[in-house]
């Protein structure tokens, strides 16, 4: 499977009837986004400045600020674009699994492979997510809702299929599965674990947690 993110350097279909001015503005945005993506991936969030991004994009810092309010907004835009790509693929993978365990592992397999392929960006996004403003945190929680809905669907299906008992706190289970999934990235960051190794570990953790809610 290959992942195509929305703001990689690729010409997008211009919507019809854009004025020349609007098109130029759109192109500037895209240039800024693709330069920013490259720098965030190479240097992380802290190590990247708007000035660097402008330089790589071949424009003035003023021109960057005309499209984005600040570095945080630029970073969020990149993450959201990635997120839309990966969540759609996670949803497909989740539907393909025959059991609860298989669908959960299927969707996390997609996520681990996507995010380890661009580890510096992933690392930066997790690190930043702990110290962001309230506004950014609320936005992030909104994105997370989609993931939690996917996880809840998998668990619900497990109940319907008679694998899991009917009376457990699905929200709590979804949350702790998510915590384990995120925390495992430290192994990729510090110990260079592959996506496969991360998934294998998560599989063991899942087995422990699910044992408590099996029918």
């Amino acid at each position: 499977m290959s992942f195509v993110s929305l703001n990689f350097e690729s010409p997008t279909e211009a919507p019809i009837k854009l004025t020349r001015r609007a098109m130029a503005k759109q192109r500037t945005r895209e240039r800024v986004l693709s330069s920013a993506r490259r720098l965030f991936s190479e240097r992380g969030y802290e190590g990247t400045t708007i000035r660097d991004i402008a330089q790589v994009a071949g424009m003035s810092t003023g021109a960057v600020f005309a499209s984005f309010a600040d570095k945080a907004e630029l970073f969020d835009e990149i993450l959201t674009a990635d997120y839309e790509v990966v969540i759609a693929q996670m949803a497909v993978a989740a539907r393909e699994g025959a059991t609860v365990e298989a669908s959960l592992l299927g969707l996390f397999d997609v996520a681990y492979r996507f995010h380890t392929e661009q580890l510096p960006l992933t690392r930066a996004s997790i690190a930043v997510s702990w110290t962001r403003s309230d506004v950014a945190e609320r936005r992030y929680r909104n994105d997370l809702l989609q993931v939690f809905r996917l996880l809840a669907d998998c668990l619900q299906r497990g109940v319907a299929q008679g694998e899991l008992k009917a009376d457990f706190d699905a929200k709590l289970v979804a949350e702790i599965i998510w915590d384990m999934y995120v925390a495992n990235y430290r192994r990729a960051i510090y110990d260079s674990w592959s996506a496969e190794a991360l998934l294998e570990r998560l599989a063991k953790q899942l087995r422990i947690v699910l044992a408590g809610v099996r029918a």
């Binding site: 702790i176 995120v182 422990i208 044992a211």
Partner: protein, 200 residues
């Protein structure tokens, strides 16, 4: 200790205290070494002769705080009573009680644990042997008492518990939850895992 060493030690203390307060008041990213030096009343140069980087300062701030916390645990641990789950709940509740006094500082500590650093002076969250071994001890004891399955990968369980523990701090940050609310959530999470480790 010579006069020079004493001075060095005093500088170190002042720097760590200033950094702890700044990280918590304005945030880690926003705090510069220059600001730390200024608040500590020392020169920027002398901060750098003691610590290699801001990341190292954070690591030492946390190490010192946790040192205090763990000497408290040395006193308390022998008196923990109740089931394995109860004991774990108590350990985490004490942590929450302690860390919610400086939530922003702790969040910076977790954030830093996702930024790899090969500097030797740094112990990121998750690599703290003391917490891990304390939790493993409680679980091992639970195995002995027949409360916990004996074929369980205890390290894996402990790592998972630590993941829940850390994530719950986001509640504190996002919703202004206090230590009691966080402990209540952690209790339910531990309860869920306890359901899974029960021998059957």
């Amino acid at each position: 200790m010579g006069l020079r060493d004493e001075q060095k030690q005093a500088t170190r203390e002042r720097v760590l205290e200033a950094a702890r307060d700044l990280f918590n008041e304005i945030g880690y990213d926003e705090t510069t070494i220059r600001a730390i030096a200024e608040r500590a009343g020392v020169s920027v140069g002398s901060v750098f002769t003691t610590f290699a980087s801001k990341a190292e300062v954070l690591s030492h701030v946390m190490e010192r705080r946790l040192g205090d916390l763990y000497s408290e645990f040395d006193r308390v641990l022998p008196y923990l009573r109740g089931s394995t789950a109860d004991r774990l709940c108590s350990i985490f509740a004490i942590h929450y009680e302690f860390e919610t006094r400086r939530v922003k500082l702790f969040l910076a500590h977790i954030a830093a644990s996702f930024s790899p650093s090969n500097e030797p002076g740094i112990t990121p969250f998750g690599r703290n042997e003391r917490l891990a071994s304390m939790l493993v001890d409680v679980l091992t004891d639970g195995v002995k008492r027949g409360e916990v399955r004996d074929d369980l990968d205890l390290t894996l369980v402990v790592d998972s518990l630590k993941a829940f523990y850390a994530w719950n701090y986001r509640m504190a940050a996002a919703m202004g939850s206090d230590a009691t609310a966080m402990s209540a959530v952690m209790d339910r999470q531990i309860g869920l895992v306890a359901e899974a480790w029960r021998p059957r």
